[in-house]
Amino acid sequence: MDNLEAIIESLLFASDTPLTIDKIKSVLETADRKTVREALTNLAEEYESGKRGFFLAEVAGGFQVRTRPEYRQWIRRLKETRPARLSRAALETLAIIAYKQPVLRSDVEYLRGVDSGGTLRTLFERRLIRVMGRKDLPGRPMIYGTTKQFLELFDLKDLNELPALKDLKDLGETWPNDSR
């Protein structure tokens, strides 16, 4: 491992948020984007081929070292406290906002058929959605969109990486999961 890679590794390791290439570049001063990207690619390959306990995830426009999903059970045992789960309602509301953004609350409620104020508030508090602006309509309603934290949570590089909406006609007998 060369020195630059080791330094970048230490930065990734010390950061609690994904680091962009530009961020790494600005910290290192001397390096250019290409060099940083190469070092990141090398690190990613090394983690992969070395079958390490972690891997390099490309999320929310940056890079973050994360533990391998296959070890989830052990880490959950270590952490004991379970993270707050998203309710089915919150998840569906979030999916609507992710796919339809920029979107109004009334659009969300039209799709779901129910008042969604409380759910929106929850998503807001968890910083998964944000106000993108206001619509030029009576009452100037807020326009919602997803946040960086949303991308981080679902391991998405950017919004383009959202899985394509399924064509219902191709699905046949399968039904969406439900908690019920």
């Binding site: 390791f13 309602a89 999916a95 039209y110 129910v114 009452g139 100037r140 981080e152 949570l153 391991d155």
Partner: protein, 243 residues
């Protein structure tokens, strides 16, 4: 909640069982194993209504949303069963009124599933939490600090409002906020350039509302002596300067 259970009878809301009328509809379509593009509307409507009746008989609270959907279904059913008066032009299947939103709703339910299948942070994968364990962390930071988000900002503001007398509550309509925003923009420009003409100020103001907002901003800034307004004697050009 547990303490109050003795006094008040436990009441279930239909909304606790189904997210909403769409959700119940999905359940019925699924249960009957029918094609959503060819819904047997009479059957589904009947089952839907029976469901609501059954819930009511169990003293389960049925929210208005569910009743609205029942009415919609009944209306579609009647249009399907009764032959249309005017034959021809745009004879769409009346069921499309419910099929379209239902299909879109289903599609998003699948999308929600797709999201859940990804490697979720703090569930499937874990990242480093903080800077502890780094050599540089020994410097530390002063205690009692929190990471800040927009909602924390608002909450902080609400806390303050709770403490002050109602007489001091001010009305924060979006309009007053637009004025504040405009003040900030004008301050930015003046900070950069020192001055600008009145004309420039109103340029690119798309709507009448925007012009009024700008004008109110100028008045407010003048009141606070953030700007000086000058008019050239000969040309008549009005110019505002950084106060």
């Amino acid at each position: 909640m547990e303490q109050t259970q003795d006094q008040t009878p436990y009441k279930v809301h239909l909304g606790d069982l189904f997210d909403g009328p769409m959700d119940l509809l999905v359940h019925l379509v699924k249960k009957n194993e029918v094609d959503i593009y060819d819904i047997p509307i009479a059957l589904i409507t009947q089952q839907y209504v029976e469901y609501l009746e059954w819930m009511k008989s169990l003293n389960i609270d049925v929210a208005g949303d569910f009743l609205v959907m029942a009415a919609t279904l009944a209306h579609i059913k009647s249009r399907v069963l009764l032959p249309t008066q005017e034959e021809g032009v745009d004879d769409e299947d009346p069921r499309m009124e419910i099929v379209r939103p239902l299909a879109e709703y289903l599609q998003l339910k699948y999308a929600a599933d797709d999201l859940m299948e990804r490697d979720r942070l703090d569930w499937d994968v874990f990242a480093r939490r903080d800077f502890d364990g780094t050599e540089a962390s020994s410097e530390g930071e002063p205690g009692g600090l929190i990471q800040v988000g927009l909602f924390e900002l608002i909450d902080a503001f609400q806390e303050i409002i709770k403490r002050v007398s109602p007489a001091y509550l001010w009305d924060l309509t979006p309009d007053t906020i637009s004025v504040k925003s405009r003040i900030s923009q004008i301050a930015d420009i003046l900070e950069e350039r020192g001055s600008m003409t009145f004309q420039e100020l109103f340029e690119a103001q798309a709507t009448r509302g925007d012009i009024i907002v700008t004008f109110l901003a100028i008045l407010e800034m003048a009141k606070f002596q953030l700007i000086r307004i000058m008019q050239h004697l000969e040309s008549g050009i009005i110019r505002i300067f950084n106060g």
